[in-house]
């Protein structure tokens, strides 16, 4: 189920809230959230729930064992077992086909006749990368001694499956939420702020991201695209991915507040960064800090010499790229950012443009990030080539691209989006008091979002086939 869907907004959410606040006594609230989260997740495919339960059980047992183990090697053994199981599950469901195809390709080059591994066409369970990392963080936190084992399986399963952040983050680590699972406050201030943040996130996703996606989709995949078209499409995609992802994170934070949870900030105006190093402190913060603490630092961080630091940065970003999806374009994207981070580290953790005023540094960083999204968005190396030709102006300025045919609204929203990412406060910085004016504005925004969602998902009454 998606937050921007009819079934969530007008069916499941009212039921969850009614059950949570009106029907069930406090001790049953985590259990209720657990049940609802499985319904939310099973809505796609009920079979996925068993995988979620399996990952949850592995880390629950491992966490208990780690805390009970008397020797360091025992603790390390149980942690290794949990991490291996989690990564095997993630690896199988997300990367098996990719790996098998790569291996078969390699065997083919080396002169082998038959494929080494069969391609299984495994359906990717939604959100698996998020919840595997989240669940794994429990075993790691207990191993490190920064969290105590969960009080019961229900509390822990509730933490792993918590529907607001189950499928698209933020990846909340166990020690950040352990206290809140035990005891959290509920107030009208939290609920009001939750509603406001949820609506702002919904508007980012439905109004901004989905509108600019029209422009982005026009450009990517079109051969012979001209200079303006290519740059406009790339800018549109750069905005789309930010508004889409951060909008979803905002909705998660808002929903969390409705149930008394406080999730960490996931985006902090990333396009206002003056360097790539700063960008990664502002973009998908929950993932970059997870990778920093659980991959970069264990690899040695910056404590093992200059060369090793660059390697660690590069390796972390390469794996971070692969985390986003099983395709060579994601690997390239990770490597691209890894190289930039290493170069900036060599330059004293700063931009190469640091002698220039900050707006120039921001512009330069934005350009680097945009070219990174080109790798991220291209579905094949051929598509990447077409876009690069367009960006370089090989196909002329216009290149047959329907620049005028996109509708006034999409253009207006593209410009509005650019203004917002550079000049406006983000959702965490917005000041909003519970006034009549704010209430009316948010209501209008909510109604507009609902109207767009319903327009896009419903067809007229003439044919509705049950």
């Amino acid at each position: 189920m998606l937050f921007n869907s009819y079934e969530f907004l007008f069916f499941l959410l009212p039921i969850i809230l009614a059950g949570y606040y009106l029907v069930l006594p406090k001790p049953f609230r985590n259990g209720w959230l657990l049940v609802c989260s499985y319904v939310f997740y099973g809505w796609w495919d009920i079979r996925y729930c068993s995988l979620l339960l399996l990952v949850t059980s592995i880390d629950y047992v491992a966490g208990k064992r780690i805390s009970m183990a008397r020797t360091k090697s025992g603790r390390r053994g149980w942690l290794a077992a949990a991490v291996c199981c989690d990564l095997s599950i993630l690896g199988f469901f997300k990367y098996y086909d990719f790996g098998a195809a790569a291996l078969n390709g390699l065997a083919d080059v080396l002169g082998g006749s038959a494929p080494v591994l069969p391609i299984l066409h495994i359906a990717l369970p939604i959100g698996i990368s998020f919840y595997v990392f989240q669940s794994m963080s429990y075993s790691i936190d207990i191993y490190r001694g920064i969290a105590k084992p969960a009080h019961g399986f229900i509390d822990f399963a509730c933490y792993v499956s918590l529907f607001p952040q189950l499928i698209a983050g933020p990846i909340v680590r166990y020690h950040e939420l352990a206290g809140q699972l035990q005891q959290r406050t509920h107030s009208t201030a939290k609920a009001g702020a939750g509603i406001a943040i949820f609506i702002l996130g919904l508007a980012k996703k439905v109004i901004l991201a989905d509108s600019v996606s029209l422009i982005a989709d026009w450009g990517f995949g079109a051969s012979g695209i001209g200079f303006w078209g290519a740059w406009t499409s790339l800018a549109a995609y750069t905005l789309q991915i930010y508004f889409d992802f951060s909008g979803y994170s905002d909705m998660a934070v808002g929903l969390g507040l409705l149930f008394g949870f406080q999730f960490p900030q996931n985006f902090n105006s990333p396009y206002k960064s003056a360097s790539i190093t700063e960008f990664w402190r502002r973009w998908h913060i929950s993932l970059s800090s997870w990778l920093r603490d659980n991959l970069y630092i264990p690899l040695g961080g910056n404590r093992k010499g200059e060369g090793r630091t660059y390697f660690n940065l590069f390796a972390t970003m390469l794996l971070g790229g692969l985390w986003h999806g099983s395709s060579w374009t994601f690997v390239l994207w990770g490597a691209y950012h890894g190289i930039w981070l290493a170069l900036e580290r060599r330059h004293g953790k700063g931009s190469y443009l640091r002698r220039f005023p900050r707006p120039v540094q921001i512009g330069g960083t934005f350009l680097i990030v945009m070219l990174g999204w080109l790798l991220f968005r291209s579905t094949s190396l051929q598509e990447l080539g077409w876009m690069l030709q367009g960006l370089a102006g090989w196909n002329g300025l216009g290149g047959g691209y329907p620049l005028g045919g996109m509708g006034v609204a999409a253009w207006a929203i593209l410009l509005l989006g650019l203004w917002m990412v550079f000049a406006c406060r983000n959702t965490w910085e917005i000041r909003l008091r519970p006034t009549l004016m704010a209430c009316s504005l948010l209501l209008v925004l909510f109604v507009a979002c609902v109207a767009i969602i319903l327009l896009n998902t419903s067809s007229p009454f003439l044919y509705f086939q049950f």
């Binding site: 079934e7 009001g192 943040i197 934070v253 909003l432 209430c439 998902t457």
Partner: protein, 408 residues
């Protein structure tokens, strides 16, 4: 770190935040509640999920021999004119629709033979095309052509599959299987994936065993689990939502007023021969997604399965492929909208060819309808998705010819 907004709310007076939250929650609950009331009252959505327990067929016929009377008032606008939701704009495209009164018996069959002891040897099973909508229905026209009574078993808005399924599960089919079952399939419904999901043999088996694909609940009602699948609900809920209707009406009117753009669902155009006509954009979207290569195999396999099952019960299947209006009046549509129509023509020809090859009787109306249209006969209403008297007449003639050719 906390969002500033949360701090602002925490610093505001408790009374103010409470009223703020109350306003939001109340409005949202009212919207949600109203939408569900609309869904139940206007669409009887609950009946798709829970049906009353069935009684024995003989009892049902004896209890309610006369069934139900249906009145369609004259002068109502066509469905496309209604859907446009802009009466002034729609007026340019509207034409007069005559009213109809007809009755259905306890098994939902209209147009019965004169004597209650008789049973028609031909039954027309389909969706809204068989209910509409001139001075006579398709079954009545076919009856005239054949010179024999033809039952009409049509269900509006539920698709040809549900209509056929309900019919073969009914007591009437089980007690008196007809000689011919004419099954009307619309071009836009030839979605291979949808056909592939139909486990046809189950309907017949369950029909024979007297049990539906439903479970008995303790209070005697039956639960239709098929319609509770998330993939079905995901489509069904927004399609039966008052909020969605309001959103469509509002944005449609706004866009027309501001930019003279047609709404998402309906557009008006002027045909060079037939003048102003309304078109259903959803059909064009459906055509865009269809791929003859992909659809043909599943559609043909499923129809063959239906034909085999019917043949086991002693009935013959006659498939009637009904084109959509967009396929006949394509000259009126913008170039952009015409590009997928050729594929649809190909799909209908391929399905028709494959079915004939495998011995299933099929009437593809598209070629004859195109021919009649070229001769200047308008076979569809200006303001409605369905055929008019002329269209019904041509379809009945062609079907009667096919049925006569089947006779030993």
């Amino acid at each position: 770190m906390l969002p500033t907004l949360l701090q602002d709310f925490q610093n505001a007076s408790r009374r103010r935040t409470r009223s703020w939250v109350t306003v939001f929650v109340l409005l949202w609950l009212v919207g949600t509640g109203a939408d569900w009331v609309f869904r139940i009252t206007r669409f009887s959505w609950h009946k798709q999920i829970v049906r009353p327990a069935a009684t024995e067929p003989s009892q049902r016929t004896a209890d309610r021999p006369s069934g139900k009377q249906h009145v369609v008032r004259e002068g109502l606008p066509g469905d496309l004119a209604g859907m446009l939701q802009m009466p002034k704009v729609a007026a340019k495209y509207m034409e007069f629709h005559p009213g109809v009164v007809y009755s259905t018996d306890a098994d939902g069959l209209a147009n019965p033979p004169d004597l209650p002891s008789e049973h028609a040897e031909t039954v027309a099973v389909g969706a809204s095309f068989f209910l509409s909508s001139g001075t006579q229905t398709f079954a009545q026209a076919l009856s005239k052509e054949l010179g024999k009574p033809v039952y009409n078993r049509a269900r509006r808005g539920s698709g040809a599959f549900l209509a056929l399924r309900r019919y073969v599960e009914s007591g009437r089919f089980r007690q008196h299987p007809p000689e011919n079952v004419v099954w009307g399939l619309n071009a836009r419904d030839l979605d291979g994936a949808y056909f592939a999901r139909q486990s046809v043999s189950n309907w017949f088996r369950q029909g024979r065993e007297g049990v539906g694909s439903t479970e008995t609940l303790s209070f005697g009602a039956r639960l239709n689990k098929e319609n509770l699948r998330p993939s079905v609900l995901r489509k069904a809920w927004p399609n039966t939502s008052a909020l969605a209707k309001a959103a469509r009406v509002f944005t449609g009117r706004l866009r027309y007023a501001l930019f003279r753009e047609w709404p998402r669902d309906v557009r008006g155009d002027v045909h060079p021969v037939f003048g102003p006509m309304l078109f259903y954009r959803e059909n064009l979207r459906v055509f865009e997604q269809m791929d003859p290569e992909r659809e043909r195999a599943s559609v043909v396999a499923t129809i063959q399965n239906v034909a085999e099952q019917l043949s086991e019960e002693g009935s013959r299947l006659v498939v009637l492929l009904i084109p959509e209006r967009e396929q006949l009046y394509r000259e009126a549509l913008p170039q952009e909208d015409q590009k997928h129509l050729d594929r649809m023509q190909q799909l209908l020809e391929e399905i028709s060819g494959s079915l004939q090859h495998s011995g299933v009787s099929v009437v593809n109306l598209l070629p004859i309808f195109q021919q009649q249209t070229q001769l200047g006969h308008r076979l569809y209403w200006r303001d409605d998705t369905h055929w008019n008297d002329a269209g019904i007449h041509v379809a009945a003639e062609e079907t009667a010819r096919a049925i006569r050719s089947l006779r030993p």
